[in-house]
Amino acid sequence: MTGGKGPFRVEFDPKLMRLERPLSLCLQARKLACERDDRWLFEGLDLDIRSGEIVRIEGPNGSGKTTLLKILSGQLSDYSGELYWNDAPMRQVREHFLANLLYLGHAPGVKTGLSPLENLAWYQALSGDKGSETQREKALAAVGLTGFEDVPAGQLSAGQQRRVALARLTLTQRALWVLDEPFTAIDRDGVDALEKQLIAHAQAGGCVLVTTHHELTASSVLRRVQLG
């Protein structure tokens, strides 16, 4: 079992895609530097991520892409320099930032002992909003997992588990997406659909920060940042 049922479609359901605030968001990093065990991963990094942009972090293995994403998503406080969210220092607006952030790491964050629906329910509740079963079913349908809603995630393939994680993109209305290698384990149809979804999110005023080895085609909204 590799793929889901049919291609991974992007739902342009306005209710799902709508972002709740008029968008002029930006995440800024100033003179960002990170030293891990006496090795400078990067130094003096200035970075602006604004509404309507997809920023792709590039660099060879070990150049600190994942570390940078973890810093920019507020998981690591082990850096020097400043982070600003909508022009306010990150430390002051951390909760607001987190409420607008969707992070997808190397591991999908899907519990194998729970069904996709239960996984999404927990994820949704984490942000303080219970959501509804219909919302979650729609989000699963959007990633081609109709019919797998109640199967324990442990019985799904790696690609399908990844899709459960990707269903969060549709499920929640977060403005800033930070995605670490989101195309891993996804089949070709899924890759196309995900790429379209990223572009749509940027065009709707969201921002996307992504590392990937997959070549993105969205030249109009894409910016590259080179590390290492």
Binding site: S73, Q75, L98, A107, V110, T112, G113, E118, G128
Partner: protein
């Protein structure tokens, strides 16, 4: 989009429910500490002597030590699953205090480990010829005491979750911190046997629990943030 009022409660109860569901689906993991508890208690009469008088005199300590070890046994998996599958990152990035979400996980651990151990202890007490009149105190002291053990142990679990073989290290970190709880827990049962007042012991156990409840969640949160860095 600010987190809705009451959002914290939603997040905490969802995490509690999630962990409870997960644990109940893997019943073996819930039963293992209980079987371990019974097994260890079985070893003592075999290793020392079946003499009821001798057993009765050491029963409070044996029951407490065995229960403590059984509770320790299941601690290693408290955060490990979440660490391995990436859920821990999501937990850390929830727009709510990590301390509260961690507390929900600890509560599930106590509910499915400490509490069953406390309820089971009187049965094993019979097997060790524990003198009458101390059974209720045994269960009560274990119920309160294991709550502190879960809280303190979760700090160790959070500190070692990023390590490949953290299990033995976890015991080394946590066991010395367990000693006060052991002293007053076993002391309460001993006092009940001797007919002394048990109130001071239970009061101190309660105080230890209160202090753990106030401080441990912050230490757990800080430790998880360290462990996620690898």
């Amino acid at each position: 989009m600010h987190a809705a009022p009451g959002g914290l409660l939603v997040a905490v109860s969802a995490t509690f429910k999630r962990d409870l569901t997960l644990m109940l689906r893997r019943r073996g993991e819930v039963l293992n500490p209980l079987v371990f508890f019974a097994l260890v208690i079985t070893l003592f009469p075999i290793g020392i002597s079946p003499d009821p008088e001798l057993l009765a005199s050491i029963a409070p300590g044996l029951l407490w030590v065995a229960a403590l070890l059984a509770a320790l046994l299941s601690l290693d998996s408290l955060f490990r699953g979440d660490y391995d599958d990436g859920s821990l990152e999501q937990l850390l990035l929830a727009p709510h205090p990590l301390a509260a979400l961690g507390l929900a996980k600890v509560a599930v651990h106590w509910l499915l480990t400490g509490l069953p151990l406390a309820l089971m202890a009187p049965v094993l007490g019979i097997m060790l010829a524990l003198p009458a009149g101390s059974y209720a105190v045994l269960a009560l002291s274990l119920a309160v005491g294991t709550a502190s053990l879960s809280l303190i142990g979760a700090i160790g679990a959070a500190l070692t979750v990023g390590l490949a073989r953290g299990g033995v290290l976890l015991s080394l970190l946590v066991l010395p911190l367990y000693i006060p709880v052991l002293i007053f827990g076993a002391g309460a049962v001993q006092a009940a046997i001797l007919g002394d007042g048990i109130a001071p012991h239970l009061a101190i156990l309660g105080a230890l629990f209160t202090v753990s409840l106030m401080l441990a969640p912050w230490a757990i949160a800080a430790s998880l943030r360290i462990s996620i860095n690898g």
